[in-house]
């Protein structure tokens, strides 16, 4: 048994790409590092926001937050698109935005075996069209929240957002 354990210790490892550690007091979130994307911390109280290089006059962004909630999301009403739409329409009124369309709810498992729940919408604000997606990721029993925002024309950043969510993992006791 002892020899077996020592064997495990010697050979335990995880193959690594370049990874960015988003460390909070409760949990560390790991995401792929993206060249020329910049990390902002505690802006508007949001622990981590990653910003793209400027494109078409703006930087796209994606936030990451450990909510601390320990909930099995598939048992909840997270897939209720009607309730989500109502929430977003109310927000649009408060910010003088105009909803354009909604992106349907989807659920999938990412590369690190964490379940992702995603939903989004497209809106117009001061003449510009934006695409926003909310992601709720179940990671080691806790829910991690992420939100991406980009100009509609910056479609190339959508691929980066997808990669970040697909390769997201976490650790911590």
């Amino acid at each position: 048994m002892k020899l077996f354990l020592l064997f495990i210790i010697m050979f335990s490892s995880v193959a690594l790409a370049d990874r960015l550690e988003l460390k909070d007091d409760s949990q560390t979130i790991f995401i792929d590092e993206k060249a020329n994307w910049e990390l902002g911390q505690n802006l508007f109280g949001i622990p981590f926001i990653l910003f793209s290089p400027q494109l078409n006059g703006q930087r796209s962004n994606i936030s990451f937050t450990d909510t601390g909630a320990k909930i099995g999301l598939k048992k909840t009403a997270i897939s209720n698109e009607v309730a989500y739409k109502k929430m977003k329409k109310n927000w649009a009124i408060k910010t003088d935005s105009i909803p354009v369309s909604f992106l349907p709810y989807q659920k999938y498992v990412n590369r690190n075996n964490h379940e992702v729940h995603q939903i989004g919408f497209v809106f117009k604000n001061e003449g510009k069209v934006y695409v926003e997606n909310s992601y709720y990721i179940e990671c080691r029993g806790k829910v991690i929240f992420s939100k991406s925002l980009r100009l509609d024309v910056n479609e190339v950043h959508e691929k980066v957002f997808n990669e970040l969510i697909d390769t997201l993992s976490c650790s911590g006791r």
Binding site: M10, D25, G40, I49, K70, K75, A83, D96
Partner: protein, 598 residues
Amino acid sequence: MMKKFLSLTLAFILLLQTVPVMADEETSIELVQKLSVLNEMFSLKCLPKGVKKENLNSYYEKNGLTEECWRIMSEVNEGEIKLQQLRMQEEQTIKCESGCSSVEKLLSHAGLVDIEKIRGQLSCTEEKKQENLKNCASDSLCVLESSAMLVGGYAVDHFFPKFAKPKNCDLGNDSCVTQIVTEFLRALFGLFKSMWSGLKAAGTYIEEKTVQFWDFVTNAEDHSSTSQLALAKASEDEGIFKELINDFPGTVSKIWEGLSGALKHWMKTDIYCKKWSGVAHFSECLQPLESFDCMSCKQFLVGTCGFIGVLGKEILTAFFTGGLLTAAKHGIEGSQTIAKVLKTSKALQESIKKVKVKPRPAGAAATKTAVAMNAINAYLLSPAREITRAAFLKVEALMKTAPVAMVISGTNKTLVFSYKAAEYTVKGIMMPLSNPLTDKAFRAGIKTFDKVFKFGAPKLTVKGPAATALTATDDTIEPLLAEIELNRLAGAMAKKQTIHLEKQLFDKVKPLRKDLSTKALQNEPDLDDVINYLYPELRYGELAKTLPRTSILQAEKELARTIGSLPKGSARTKLLKELQEHISNNEARAKVVGLGQK
């Protein structure tokens, strides 16, 4: 009883997600209802059954006050401040019966300005107006600094690391302005994580689909959408973007100056405009209310804070999504541009309609006002409210006179009114309170303990076997362990200090730990306890990154051998399994140890 408790919990969680109240008859009643539920929650969760007012002191001295109960208490306190403002506005509908021809009457009648606070400031010389304009930036900053210092905690630490009381800047006992500043600072800095508390608390209710998931996350979703949109727009100016990302706290003063200057300009040229070129509020203001220029920016904020406070969230939303870049770039110079953002915000216009009180209500309108007044008065006299209020005053008094400490155990925090750590049976740390609680800070509505109090050196409340074995060898170790726990709780902000302390512990522990871990594991096997205190590098955190890879692997082997040398049995098997799980598929470990071989 259980059913009532569960439904109250649910109502409470949903109510915590509500938007701020505006002053019309229906929302006065909504606020009264919310406060009634909060008072009932407080009685259920924070007071023993049938407790009398005269016994509250001894109850709190013995049991302390949890952070959750503090939160409820603060919500009630905050709600009652708003209720008093609404009551004032309701009363003013009745007072202005003979018309409002003078400027003073005009300002007070609309219920938007507290005339008592600006009496005597409504006419002045041209020189005085220019002086007020020139001083507006420093005036606004004075309000920000004074209020932030009253609030204390995070705001002070990050804005004013070298404590400097602003000169000639005494705001008196004005909790209204403190509230506005608190709201502003909170929107910028805090507490996004606390917006998830509804989801956290919901637990199994939400898994049973008894309520909608999205109701629990609305605040957090709204805040992140608004903030990320504001930042996306701000990124259009590369210089400002870099400033925000590299020194967010440092740009706050300018942002605040821009906002407060804009509020004054907006009130003068829109809300109180006396003559329009075309349709009111949609054309150019030809005759702004010049009396506003006779008020300094500080006096303006003090005099109108009731109105601004009620609309706080709407103003901030419009400001952040439309005016952040201008404010960050130009500060007070951007006031007129930002004022246009407020003026053209449809959401804000709709909210203002509900705030403005119509003159001489009669018929149904008068009845509605009377109903609202009755509801407010009935609440203020209710028995549930009476006991919560009494508890509030008792806790406030104890904070000022008793030796107060905060006990942290896991994620639970409790304020206790005794220093005897031996009384506590839960593992955690205890920190004596070192700053006296001021009335203003308590009433400022901060809902987490560590944002409002300053604490002294921490101690461990209960020590596990590893900590006991370790602290018995050396007197200096216990304070070191407690400091480490405290800094770990502070998270990323205290990273450097945590590493420094962990290194100190590591140096002390390393020569002793082989023997100590054997003793600790024999008494009461707890792998977490042994790793935390005797093998801290096996947390694979910042300390591990400073050590050679071979040293980490050596530590793992040593711990495995120590466990392996325990007597055969279920305890040894369990520990070996836990160690294996701790090491396998651990990305943090992989980052430190790297790929593959020894």
